[in-house]
Amino acid sequence: MRPSEGAAKKLGGHRVAMSADLMLLPRRYPVFVLLIVLLLAASLITPAVLSPENIITAIRQYAVIGIMALGVTFVVIGGRVDVSIGSLLSVLVVVIISLHDKVGAILAVCAGVSIAAVVGTINGFLVAYLRLNSLIVTLGMLTALQGVANVASAGILNRVMDPEASWFKVFGRSFFLGVPVSVWIFGGFALLCALALGKTNFGRSLRAVGGNETGSVFSSINARWTIFITFLIASLLTAMAAIVFASYAMAAPYNSGTGLEMTVLASIFLGGTSIGGGVGGIGRTVIGVIVLAFLANGMILVGMPIQAQWLVSCIIIIAAVLLDTFARRGTLLA
């Protein structure tokens, strides 16, 4: 528990704590404030930014990244990192799309999920049980999977012949109550993940392992199993993201996920989940994803070239991390 929360509780009563928490919002979630400032600035330049259609479009474009980021958040809270998810997405999209017309959507999706489970198991085993460094293991996996995606695509752009005829389009192309199904999926999984992290033994163990691994082992937490599971979650949620991507695109470029791992990590760090492990949360990642989504969307709306967008992303990431550190430490300098 943070000292500020403790102070709020000491003032007595739930209501005081609530209002104090509201006052503390900028301190606890500085990136949230950044989001509001950015939105206001963008809407001054182009009023279209804040229209409901655009808000939905912006989040829809980042649903795939958001779903992946949810899974990787577990890995990062455990004090590890998974950079193989981008290439894994490429492989899964190629597999799902190229199998779709041959064996049907259900079997194609099953094949994709199985591959994701295998990759997650390998990553998890190497990191949790063989104690290899996660950045390097998943970097190796990234390299290998990039090749696998290239080989599996057989050098052609696989596509589904008749996208509209397949029920598979539901994940990426349909709407429910006016909101894209992909955004519902992102929201649903965000809720599930938040519950898993906040309300289950697994979630509490994970925070303990990420915060102090040796300490957690002495508290008879199965640290290895906990870390192993985080990699499985990251891979399986990447499979979900791949399903959404494949259903939206109905085609499979072999490099559809190249570089996405960096965007995913950026959104997690932006939310304030700390790379050292133990600190962070699903809500934070969701905010990070939404900030990046609006940033990308706003920059496109004002007609900024893509290379200039990278520069803005660079500045925003450093600014957000600075803000977050400042909020936590109370001072800007180390």
């Binding site: 190497l126 990234l142 290998a144 080989v151």
Partner: protein, 339 residues
């Protein structure tokens, strides 16, 4: 971890377990090479490709191999001190691209060698900036340099356009074309740079403090080491060498494009870690890094010579990396120890 690490650091110590003894013999023979899984890998790969391809161990191909190894090797050598001090620099690929484009763009105006100097200074400044941001604000280096990777690449496109540009003076390419036996000029520069960085790490106060900081930052600080200065210096060296890679790319290819160096940071990190440097900091050698860069180059080159489809090469590189690290862990420290 301490027990396992201590064991592998002192190959002479007695142990009752036979398996442990076998492990240490394996280590002991290789102790000279600086605790790196890269040497056995390099030797294995060279032996394998010599046996399978008649074109591998030829004068021409070895010379070619050395030239190919320079790019990733130099990036990795620059990264090694940064890693040893416990930090990471992901921006090196972008810095190489920036330096290459800067060199070619300013060369017609200020001449070739001043342009080279400008490129190196640009790399130095970016490295300094990385180090200062990390140290002054106490931020995580992965996040800062991840952002800088995007930022520097963006600046390269915005300042120099998105086209491939050629210098008007090809003296640099002629210089690289010079051959001293097997070695082209860029290989000689690479060897010299590696020796200097290795000597710096082994025998200077800065090098020894770098190991101390990576091993235990707090302890180093309490012992009176000026931690921040050393880390900033390592970032500056890393940035300068990344810029030198950009200059070498221009020399080798006779052109510069803003996409130069994209993805190289990942290969360089693979080389550093395969070379036995710990990501957590505190240990590692330049010799190991050079061997690992060599092993990666031999792997790519040999697989090409065997007429393997180029799309399989990345799969092989990834699998070999993970297998090597797994074997190294199983053979040297046993599965029980942490990193």
């Amino acid at each position: 971890m301490s027990a396992g690490a201590a064991e592998s650091m002192e190959p002479g110590r007695q142990s009752t377990a036979t398996r442990g003894a076998a492990r240490r013999t394996f280590r002991g023979t290789l102790g000279f090479f600086g605790q790196s899984p890269a040497w056995p890998l390099l030797i294995l790969l060279v032996a394998f490709f010599t046996l399978t391809s008649p074109h591998f161990l030829t004068w021409f191909n070895v010379s070619n191999l050395l030239t190919q190894a320079v790019i990733i090797g130099m990036l990795a050598v620059g990264l090694t001190p940064v890693f040893i001090s416990g930090a990471v620099d992901l921006s090196v690929g972008s810095v190489a691209g920036f330096a290459a484009c800067l060199l070619v763009t300013v060369q017609p105006h200020i001449g070739l060698y001043p342009a080279c100097l400008a490129a190196l200074l640009a790399g130095l400044s970016i490295g300094l900036f990385n180090g200062l941001v990390v140290e002054i604000f106490g931020l995580n280096s992965i996040i800062v340099t991840l952002a800088m990777m995007l930022g520097v690449r963006s600046l390269t496109f915005l300042l120099f356009g998105s086209k491939t540009i050629s210098p008007t003076d090809y003296a640099l390419s002629d210089l690289v074309g010079l051959k001293l036996g097997l070695f082209t000029f860029d290989v000689v520069v690479f060897i010299a740079v590696s020796l200097v960085v290795a000597a710096m790490l082994r025998s200077t106060v800065h090098g020894i403090n770098t190991y101390a900081i990576g091993g235990n930052r707090r302890a180093a600080q309490d012992a009176g080491v000026r931690v921040s200065r050393h880390i900033v210096l390592n970032f500056a060296i890393c940035g300068t060498l990344a810029a030198l890679v950009g200059v070498t790319l221009v020399a080798q290819l006779g052109a510069a494009a803003p996409v130069f160096g994209q993805g190289y940071e990942l290969l360089a990190i693979i080389a550093v870690v395969l070379g036995g440097t710990k990501l957590a900091g505190g240990s590692g050698t330049v010799v190991g890094t050079v061997a690992a860069a060599g092993a990666l180059t031999v792997l790519q080159n040999g697989v090409n010579l065997l007429n393997v489809d180029v799309r399989y090469v990345t799969i092989i590189v990834g699998v070999v990396l993970v297998l090597t690290l797994t074997l190294d862990r199983l053979l040297s420290r046993g599965p029980g120890s942490s990193e």
